[in-house]
Amino acid sequence: MRRLARWLNHFEDGLIVLILLMMIGLAVYQIVLRNVFSSSLVWVEPLLQNAVLWIGLLGAMIASRRDEHIRIDLINTWLKPEARRWLAMVVDLFTCAVCAVVAWHSMLFLFEEMRQGGNAFPGVPSWMLQAMIPVGFSVISVRYLIMFFLDLLHLRPPMQEPHA
């Protein structure tokens, strides 16, 4: 179980770095193609636009590992640690539930898309690119569920403030 989690972490880290590098490379390549050879590749634009979604969701998945999402934190500073723990459990469950709802409905939509959807660009069916949405929200949901249990067992690492 723990090995699986660590493997997933490395996979996410690797993938996000790879996509970012690909994004920079392809975008610059496209500029060179257009300005020097006055041609362009049709599939680059949609691929890059989808890459943004992938990067966003992967980043959000990684941020969920340590609960680093943007939030308003007003009440917590005034609370005692014990109350804070209970509150955190409620919040974790809520986040987990919301993400699960999105993941579920998104998956249903995806099955529909798989059956009748077209291609995003030649050779790549559009459901493949959209699949990141249910995957991302499922992972975030599971991570918040784990956080809930860690809290329940007094094992949760301290909260992280997102840094600007």
Binding site: A27, L58, G59, I62, A63
Partner: protein, 429 residues
């Protein structure tokens, strides 16, 4: 029933639930009350891929992270000191200019205070400025430059406005226009703060530094790989050769080559970590942006902006009164909320109302970000105050007192920016 749900969401938000989950919950409840199948959530989130400029967000952010990890702050500081240090109030101007450019490039106000504060605070003290003055200057300069190219908050505003323009009757909002419109207001803020510094220092004049041509040449040489960067960004964008997303890609590649290969400030093995960290921040922003698009779709479907406009119009008659109200609300929000959260939540609500009062969407963007910038230093909860308190090991109350004069100066500029739209728009329309 619906009110209980709304109340529960508000309560959860105050309890520190991630904002994306709150907005998502609100959108889901909204769509459910309209009997819309929740697959709409998937579809609206996937709208993120419709935007052709959004790619600029991860790329500019990555470039900014690289710059803040490298020794860019030192070089920028040396260069502006060599260029402006000999002027009256020179070090103060150095601080303002260096902070503004650094914030524009790195996008985060916290980064500026942490990276440049460590260099500027001792330099200011050495030049003979008083500590209280220095603390106020650094804290308020930390968010200076949010209106300058290639500021990410302006970009986010533009993306939301473009998304909404598909459903509303409004003039287009080009990102380039936003950047052009931000130039004069940003310069105005720098000049006003500089004049205030000169005025505040009139009783204890600080000895001027001698101008050294050799030092300027040395500083220029030191910054030789970074100097072309503004030319690449500005030239690329404003000449029309590159669209915003392409300019961002070129910037990212350029900074990568400059900092890793030419300056060798960042060892190759640290690069994956920096990439990951920058993308985690991007993920946080993109996620709330995506769910906010879903939420704003619901709002428009449900006709909330019209209702809100009708409601506000019965209480607020003139455009001027509306702008004043807008400033107050945004200042409070800027102090309470993260800048991106405030943007994605408030723009979908405010933009249609502002259009109703005849406010140009480009001008609104400038007002919005300018307010957020001042919100960062608004006591008692502005984020810069906390970052500065933490960074400089000073009690927060001391920072309140030190920062308030600077905040008042910025408020005067804000009033000018808000009530004279031409300041922002004369380059655009």
């Amino acid at each position: 029933m619906i009110w209980i749900a709304v109340l529960a969401l508000l309560l959860l938000a105050l309890c520190g639930a991630p904002l994306f989950a709150i907005i998502l919950g609100a959108a889901a409840i909204g769509f459910l009350t309209m009997d819309t199948p929740l697959a709409v959530l998937h579809i609206t989130i996937y709208q993120l891929t419709d935007s052709v400029v959004l790619m600029a967000l991860p790329l500019f952010t990555f470039a900014g992270f690289l710059l803040s990890e490298a020794k860019t702050a030192d070089r920028m500081m040396r260069l502006s000191q060599a260029a402006f240090g000999w002027l009256p109030g020179g070090m103060a101007l150095v601080a303002l200019v260096a902070c503004a450019f650094f914030t524009a490039l790195t996008g985060g106000s916290g980064v500026t205070i942490v990276a440049l504060g460590a260099l500027l605070l001792p330099a200011l003290a050495k030049a003979g400025y008083q500590e209280k003055f220095n603390l106020g200057l650094m804290t308020s300069s930390g968010s200076l430059g949010l209106l300058l190219v290639p500021s990410v908050p302006l970009l986010v505003y533009g993306i939301i406005a473009q998304q909404m323009s598909q459903q509303l009757d409004m003039p287009t909002v080009e990102i380039t226009d936003l950047y052009l419109a931000g130039l004069v207001p940003a310069l105005l803020m720098i000049v006003a703060l500089y004049l205030w510094c000169l005025w505040a220092m009139r009783k204890q004049p600080v000895p001027k530094q001698a101008f050294s041509f050799a030092e300027l040449r040395g500083a220029l040489w030191d910054a030789r790989w970074e100097l072309p960067l503004p030319v690449v960004v500005l030239g690329g964008i404003f000449s029309g050769v590159l669209v915003i997303s392409e300019a961002a890609a070129v910037t990212a590649l350029y900074v990568l080559v400059a900092e890793v290969l030419l300056y060798r400030d960042i060892p190759l093995r640290k690069l994956p970590r920096i990439m990951r960290e920058s993308m985690v921040m991007v993920g946080g922003i993109l996620l709330i942006l995506a769910v906010a698009l879903a939420f704003s779709d619901y709002l428009v479907f449900a006709g909330v902006p019209e209702t809100l406009f009708a409601f506000i119009q019965t209480h607020v008659e003139s455009k001027l009164a509306f702008l004043l109200l807008l400033n107050l609300v945004l200042l409070a929000l800027g102090a309470l909320l993260d800048i991106f959260a405030a943007l994605v939540i408030m723009v979908p609500l405010i933009l249609p109302v502002a259009l109703g009062y005849g406010i140009d969407p480009v001008h609104l963007g400038i007002i919005f970000v300018a307010n957020m910038q001042i919100g960062y230093i608004t006591p008692p909860v502005g984020m810069n105050l906390f970052i500065a308190s933490y960074r400089f090991h000073k009690p927060i109350t001391e920072l309140f007192r030190a920062t308030i004069p600077f905040m008042l100066v910025l408020l005067v500029v804000l009033a000018l920016i808000t009530y004279i739209p031409e300041l922002s728009l004369f380059l655009v329309r």
